[in-house]
């Protein structure tokens, strides 16, 4: 990752969160990882001026209280927040979720594999991509 800004992971499942953490460690990503348990917590974090704006949001779709799609609706309406690249990381293969996500302008849509090794590959690929690609200007 080009930036040193933190990653924001929006995920309610503890084991899935552990997986991401572990995977990032394996590929030696040094950026700080902040985890929000659902959409509302994520929004609270993003809107808090004390917090550094993350350089990327990894978003799960199925969460309680405010799910991924609803969260996307909100941040994409926000002038400052909508620029942050969002990669959906979900177990949902539903066509509709894919359509909605891309309609809302996500930067990527990755399926969570059952296999851990594959999961690591997925995270590695995301990191590699955003190392090569330019990030939107931050604050």
């Amino acid at each position: 990752m080009k930036s040193t800004r933190p990653f924001l992971l929006v995920e309610d499942d503890q084991v899935d969160a552990m997986t991401v953490k572990r995977a990032l460690k394996v590929i030696k990503v040094t950026n700080r990882l902040h985890i929000a348990g659902d959409g509302e917590q994520a929004l609270a974090y993003l809107r808090d001026p004390k917090n550094e704006t993350p350089c990327i949001i990894l978003l799960d779709l199925s969460m309680p209280r405010m799910n991924g799609i609803e969260f996307l609706h909100v941040i994409k309406k926000d002038k400052t927040l909508k620029r942050i690249p969002v990669v959906v990381l979900t177990s949902s293969k539903e066509e509709q979720d894919r359509v909605d996500s891309f309609d809302l302008g996500v930067a990527g849509y990755m399926l969570k594999p059952v296999d851990y090794a594959q999961f690591v590959e997925v995270v590695k690929t995301i990191d590699l991509y955003w190392t090569l690609s330019e990030l939107p200007p931050g604050e």
């Binding site: 499942d13 899935d16 552990m18 572990r22 199925s62 539903e94 969570k112 999961f119």
Partner: protein, 545 residues
């Protein structure tokens, strides 16, 4: 061009005139002193002439009414006056009155006859209808006067000879008659009608009589000759006119009869028509009633259809709702069931990695089995999800080249070299849902490869075209399937081998069966234990589904 007939008639006219004059002259010369004084004969002749004249008047008046020919008006007045005056003359004894009446009769007649030159004169005279009456009255009065007071009359005869007055009157009358003759000759020339010729003769005779009056003496040969000729002329003309009249009447009668006949037929037709109309009206009414009945039936039908439609819509809505609920359910179930599986799998993996030094071989094996089971469960969930999608989730039908499809499937399955599936027959291009077709072929081929128990196995794909459908087959020379299991294998979760031996969900054939039945086909297996199995399934052709 004049016809021969007309020429003859003209000649006859001239001959008549000349002949008569000659005859008169001859008589006068031969018997200058012949006298026959016979008052009764004279009176009869004159009376007959009067009767004829009156009759002519009536006939001509009728003709005028019927034909509207104005000249008949003058002629009828002429005949009327002449007739009446001659009538009085017939009953007077020789004397002034006698001659006076005859002369005045000729004058009146001549004057009226000459008026045929002015056929429209009647129109310019007011009280036209009264003219005949006036003429009749005047004639009667004159006649009566002459009879009663002959002495008041101007002298007509003197010493057996006619006076100049008498001669002049008669001469003038003659001239007038000849004037009329000219008119009738012209008419004859124009129309060629015999009637005109006859009138010309009549007026000629009267004219000549008037002109030659001076040469005759009362009761002499010439006198009698002219009387007779005049009478003959009267009769001839009358005869002809009456004949014409009768012809006209008979023509009218025929026309009348024709008209009556036509009227009768018309009436008959009208009645018939009325009958027809009544008939048709009744028919129409029946038809209308029929149409109305049908209309009502249609309206009822329409209402029923609408009600049925509403029901259908309602059912469709309910089905859609149920479908959606099922879809949601399937999604949620599969998702929520898969998530913990994933966690279990990953945690097991991490324990295996992080605590490798603490675990012994058994421990490691346990964790491996754990991971395996989660994978199995994942496959089962996926299978159920797929199974539930069939028939519910429809994709768009396309033309699928089965040859290409099967080729791709074989590549995906990546069978070992020894077992290369072969496509025996040419696979057609069919219309269908690509995913479903893939699932069918893939599952069958996968099974064939998975259960192959021989190192050099053969797997084949076949196709036979039949009238209404395609018959496909996937055959192998694997272990075969006992007949008693043929039905069971198509059931959900049924496996013939333990799951630990061959990792199989037991869903594949159930899935394939459901798909095949969705598109209206059939699936069955033929097998010999130890020699292999062939799975057959049908795909209905376009339009048959």
């Amino acid at each position: 061009m004049m016809k021969i007939k007309h020429l003859m008639l003209y000649l006859a006219l001239v001959a008549l005139a000349a002949g008569l004059l000659w005859a008169g002259l001859a008589l006068h010369t031969l018997w200058p002193d012949w006298r026959w004084e016979n008052e009764p004969v004279h009176s009869s002749v004159e009376a007959l002439g009067t009767v004829v004249a009156i009759f002519m008047t009536l006939v001509l008046f009728q003709r005028k009414q019927k034909e509207g020919d104005e000249k008949f008006f003058s002629l009828s007045i002429g005949f009327l006056s002449m007739g009446l005056l001659d009538g009085f003359h017939a009953f007077s004894s020789p004397g002034h009155g006698f001659v006076f009446l005859h002369s005045v009769a000729g004058l009146a007649g001549g004057f009226c006859f000459a008026l045929v030159w002015l056929p429209g004169w009647g129109r310019y005279v007011s009280g036209r209808a009264h003219i005949p009456w006036a003429a009749a009255v005047a004639s009667t009065l004159c006649g009566a006067w002459a009879l009663l007071w002959p002495g008041t009359l101007p002298p007509m005869v003197y010493n057996g000879e006619f006076t100049t007055t008498a001669v002049n009157i008669n001469f003038f009358a003659g001239v007038l008659f000849l004037v009329a003759t000219a008119r009738f000759v012209l008419d004859f020339q124009r129309s060629g009608e015999l009637e005109a010729w006859l009138f010309a003769c009549l007026t000629l005779l009267f004219g000549l009589a008037g002109l030659t009056f001076r040469h005759s003496l009362v009761w002499d040969s010439g006198w009698w000759l002219w009387h007779l000729l005049r009478l003959t002329a009267y009769l001839l003309v009358l005869g002809f006119v009456v004949r014409q009249y009768l012809v006209m009447v008979s023509v009218l009668q025929v026309a009348l009869a024709e008209q009556r006949r036509t009227e009768k037929e018309l009436r008959k037709h009208r009645d018939h028509l009325e009958e027809l109309v009544t008939e048709r009206t009744a028919e129409l009414n029946a038809r209308v009633a029929e149409v109305e009945r049908l209309n009502r039936a249609m309206t009822n039908l329409l209402q029923d259809l609408q009600a049925a439609n509403r029901n259908l819509e309602q059912t469709a809505r309910e089905l859609q709702k149920a479908n959606k609920e099922l879809a949601d359910f399937a999604y949620i179930v599969s998702h929520d069931l898969k998530a913990p599986l994933r966690a279990i799998s990953q945690l097991a993996g991490w324990v295996s990695t992080d605590y490798a030094d603490v675990l012994d071989a058994d421990g490691q094996e346990m964790l491996t089995l754990l991971t395996g089971r989660t994978q199995r469960m994942h496959n089962l969930i996926e299978g159920i999800l797929q199974y539930s999608r069939i028939g519910r989730v429809r994709e768009k039908e396309r033309n699928v080249d089965l040859k290409q499809l099967v080729q791709e499937i074989i590549e995906t399955l990546a069978p070992p070299e020894q077992v290369q599936p072969s496509v025996r027959d040419t696979l057609p291009t069919v219309a269908g849902e690509p995913t479903r077709l893939t699932q069918v072929f893939q599952n069958l081929l996968d099974n064939a490869l998975k259960f192959m128990d021989k190192p050099q196995g053969r797997v084949g794909v076949g196709c036979v075209e039949q009238e209404s459908h395609w018959l496909f087959s996937v055959s192998d020379d694997g272990p075969g399937i006992e007949e008693k299991h043929h039905a069971r294998i198509f059931q959900m979760f049924q496996t013939l081998t333990p799951r630990d031996e061959t990792e199989s969900t037991g869903i594949g054939l159930a899935l394939v069966k459901k798909i095949v039945e969705t598109w209206g086909g059939k699936i069955w297996v033929e097998s010999t234990v130890g020699q292999g199995s062939t799975f057959f399934f049908t795909l209905p052709k376009e339009g048959e589904k």
